[in-house]
């Protein structure tokens, strides 16, 4: 293969002295500063916006450092430098939209957030003279609705998802049923979210009257979307648990189910929890299924079994479509939704870290 030829050729020219020539340790930093300075200089001269200056500096760096490395370290060093820069650019590129979305939401949403925003629902009073709606309406109803509906979805999908993962990894190995279930989990990831919502509506209106809307309907719809993610995360993580651990447990005479609960799950716990959190953060912002299945309401309703509920994503989109209200309320709700997910995420990580047993790896 050409790979070995390349190696041989490279080694023939560069490997003779035991230490090949290297750029100084600070070379990337130096090149970065020079590129930035150059970009800045051109920016000042040509009066181009700061974004363009950064792009220009990045382009200079991606050319300059590998060229320098090529001169000193040879072709392999240059390629290595180039790929390192590209990897770092990928990270920066991924961070840009995140910082942008978060700061944009923050700037748009923060004026809306105050105490009454968090502690009132949307029922407002009319000014007796001008008939204008008085300010002070908030989104407490939507916060509670989102928490209740999402918790409902988690309560449905985490046990089913984890038990399915246990079945696939521990019991169903190689059986026809396991193969079918694996395929079906794949199929499930393909359920369009709005179809999940429509399904929940069809299911519950079959049982009740046609106007039935309730939080549990949203939970069912969301759990359809959540289960595959939970199964996958659980499966992936449990497969990572070394067979040695299981065998050690069996050798001690521990029954299989105790082994799963005591050895496999705790070992995979951190990963499973992260998977569940990712699943929750995927569904907590779902709008379309909640729009059709849970409806919208102005007041607090925490009874998951009956009556419409407001949820944050639905609140955001309906405020946007309604148009006339200042969008501040929608952005405030968006900011709050992101904060809730962040807090849940962080909490899960901390819990996962505390509870996960120390592994050797």
């Amino acid at each position: 293969m050409s790979v070995t030829d390349d190696y041989a050729a490279d080694f023939a020219t560069t490997a003779l002295p035991l230490t090949a020539a290297r750029l100084p340790r600070q070379a990337p930093l130096l090149a970065g500063v020079v590129a930035l300075a150059l970009g800045g200089l051109v920016g000042v001269v040509l009066q181009i916006p700061w974004v363009a200056v950064l792009v220009l500096a990045a382009a200079v760096l991606v050319v300059a450092l590998p060229t320098w490395a090529y001169a000193v370290e040879g072709r392999r060093g240059a390629v290595d430098r180039l790929m390192t820069i590209l990897v770092c650019y990928a990270v920066l590129g991924a961070l840009v939209p995140l910082v942008w979305v978060l700061s944009y939401t923050f700037i748009q949403g923060i004026p809306a957030i105050d105490w009454s925003f968090l502690t009132h629902d949307q029922t407002s009073r009319l000014d007796p003279v001008t008939f204008k709606q008085l300010p002070g309406a908030g989104i407490k109803h939507a916060i509670l609705g989102t928490l209740v509906v999402t918790a409902g979805a988690a309560v449905i999908s985490v046990p089913i998802g984890l038990m399915t993962a246990i079945y696939l990894v521990e019991y169903g190995k190689g059986s026809a049923l396991a193969r079918i279930v694996t395929i079906l989990v794949d199929v499930m990831t393909g359920i369009p979210s709005i179809v999940a919502g429509l399904f929940a509506v069809a299911l519950f209106t079959e049982l009740g009257d046609p106007g039935t809307r309730s939080g549990i309907m949203g939970s069912v719809a969301l759990s359809l979307l959540m289960i595959p993610t939970v199964v996958r995360a659980g499966e992936e993580m449990m497969r990572l648990v070394p067979a040695d651990l299981r065998e050690a447990s069996y050798a001690l005479g521990v029954p299989k189910w105790r082994t799963i609960l005591k050895v496999v799950i705790p070992t995979a716990f951190g990963g499973i929890l992260t998977g569940v959190m990712l699943a929750i953060s995927r569904v907590i912002g779902e709008t379309a299924p909640l729009l059709v299945a849970v409806g919208a309401v102005d007041v607090v309703n925490t009874n998951i079994l009956s009556g419409r509920m407001e949820t944050l994503p639905v609140f955001i989109i309906s405020k946007y479509k309604q148009g006339q209200d200042p969008l501040e309320l929608a952005w405030g709700a968006a900011l709050l939704l992101i904060i809730i997910v962040m807090v849940l995420n962080l909490a899960a990580r901390i819990i996962g870290k505390i509870f996960a047993p120390k592994t050797g790896h």
Binding site: Q133, L147, A151, L273, V297, V299, T302
Partner: protein, 364 residues
């Protein structure tokens, strides 16, 4: 059993948070409500339909709720078609609709209600023609010119037809980008109805809630329309007055008779007052053939009249009382003022309101 505890902790945390918050909310409610309401009305009523009415419905519920704290009325802004369908299926006790029920729908609704349903206008809003064009802030347009712009036969802002409408304006040669609603909406229905009736030969397609062509820029909902018009230069679109207020977009004046009229709530109300009742309908169906071609400069012809649809009798007597009380409030002077103040709608002409009240009084 530590493993179970481990798995359950996050779930419990969320539940506990939700429950504790809801506990607070119950306390709140008990504190402010102070027992049963003064009106004696109570119960939950589900309604829905027209999204154009959403802001007005919010104001009405706020106004009605002040006197009836034990009543919970929900209004799903799911769109007029779905609203009527859900009304017919019995899911909604009353519905808001941007267009009048068809004969088939009236027949089905009659079956649901056990008698001919009640239908009356409750929300009248002018539809503005909005545009975004550098250096032009006083645009005047005749119906034929608007139709030409939206059917694509007028493509630049310095077209002779636009010049003829605006003899004094300094029009640039920018390309025109017409924007239409991407979702199905009563606003589109009324706008195309206006073009069909007023623009004569220039507009050839019949009015419909969906825009007749699938080209050009679009906006999702009123906000999407306003955003799209704002985003480009040389864009023009149509939007409910409520969505345009405060958006900073320029609003065109529309040719009525020989003068150019700016949209106004009064103009829309005057245009409805100049419209004829739909012929051949039952007394309880108060719908109108909207007059788009009046030459009276006090009228503004591009407007949306949105109806409320209800049954004359309900199985649940409490619910009937709530619907009756709420709809009476909606068309009352205070109710119409609340809608006008919050949704920038026109107040319903009093004689039409009186006809509607006579029908609402029959609800039992």
């Amino acid at each position: 059993m530590t493993h179970i505890r481990r798995a359950v902790v996050p779930g419990v945390a969320v539940l506990a948070l939700a429950l504790s918050l809801s506990a607070c909310s119950d306390d709140d409610k008990g504190g402010t409500d102070g027992g049963s309401g003064v009106s004696g009305l109570s119960g939950d009523v589900a309604a829905g339909g027209s999204s154009a009415q959403e802001s007005a419905q919010e104001a009405w519920r706020a106004g009605f709720g002040a006197d009836n704290p034990d009543v919970t009325i929900t209004y799903d802004a799911v769109g007029s078609g779905t609203g009527r369908e859900n009304f017919i299926s019995g899911a909604y006790l009353f519905a808001g609709s941007d267009s009048a029920m068809s004969d088939d729908e009236i027949a089905s609704a009659t079956e649901t209600c056990g008698a001919t349903p009640i239908e009356f206008p409750a929300f009248i809003s002018p539809v503005d023609v909005v545009y975004n064009l550098d250096g032009v802030d006083d645009l005047q347009l005749s119906p034929a010119t608007i139709a030409g712009i939206f059917n694509g036969s007028i493509t630049t802002w310095d077209d002779d037809a636009i010049k003829a409408d605006n003899p004094d304006a300094d029009l640039p040669s920018t390309d025109i980008t017409p924007v239409h609603r991407s979702d199905s909406s009563g606003t589109t229905d009324n706008f195309t109805d206006y073009l069909e009736k007023a623009a004569g030969d220039v507009w050839k397609t019949p009015h419909s809630s969906d825009w007749p062509t699938t080209t050009g820029e679009t906006g999702e909902g009123t906000s999407g329309m306003v955003d799209s018009v704002k985003a480009g230069d040389g864009t023009i679109g149509y939007a409910d007055d409520a969505g345009v207020q405060g958006s900073g977009l320029a609003i065109a004046k529309i040719k009525v008779g020989d003068t150019y009229v700016a949209p106004s709530a009064d103009g829309a109300a005057a245009a409805l007052a100049a419209s004829e009742r739909t012929a051949g309908t039952e007394e309880s169906i108060i719908t109108f053939d909207l007059n788009r071609t009046s030459t009276d400069p006090s009228t503004y012809p591009i407007f949306l009249a949105s109806y409320e649809i209800a049954c004359p009798s309900y199985d649940d007597a409490d619910a009937a009382k709530v619907v009756k009380g709420f709809l009476s409030y909606v068309i009352s002077e205070n109710g119409q003022k609340a809608a006008a103040a919050n949704a920038f709608s026109a107040e319903l002409p009093r004689d039409i309101a009186d006809q509607a009240q006579a029908q609402i009084d029959k609800i039992s």
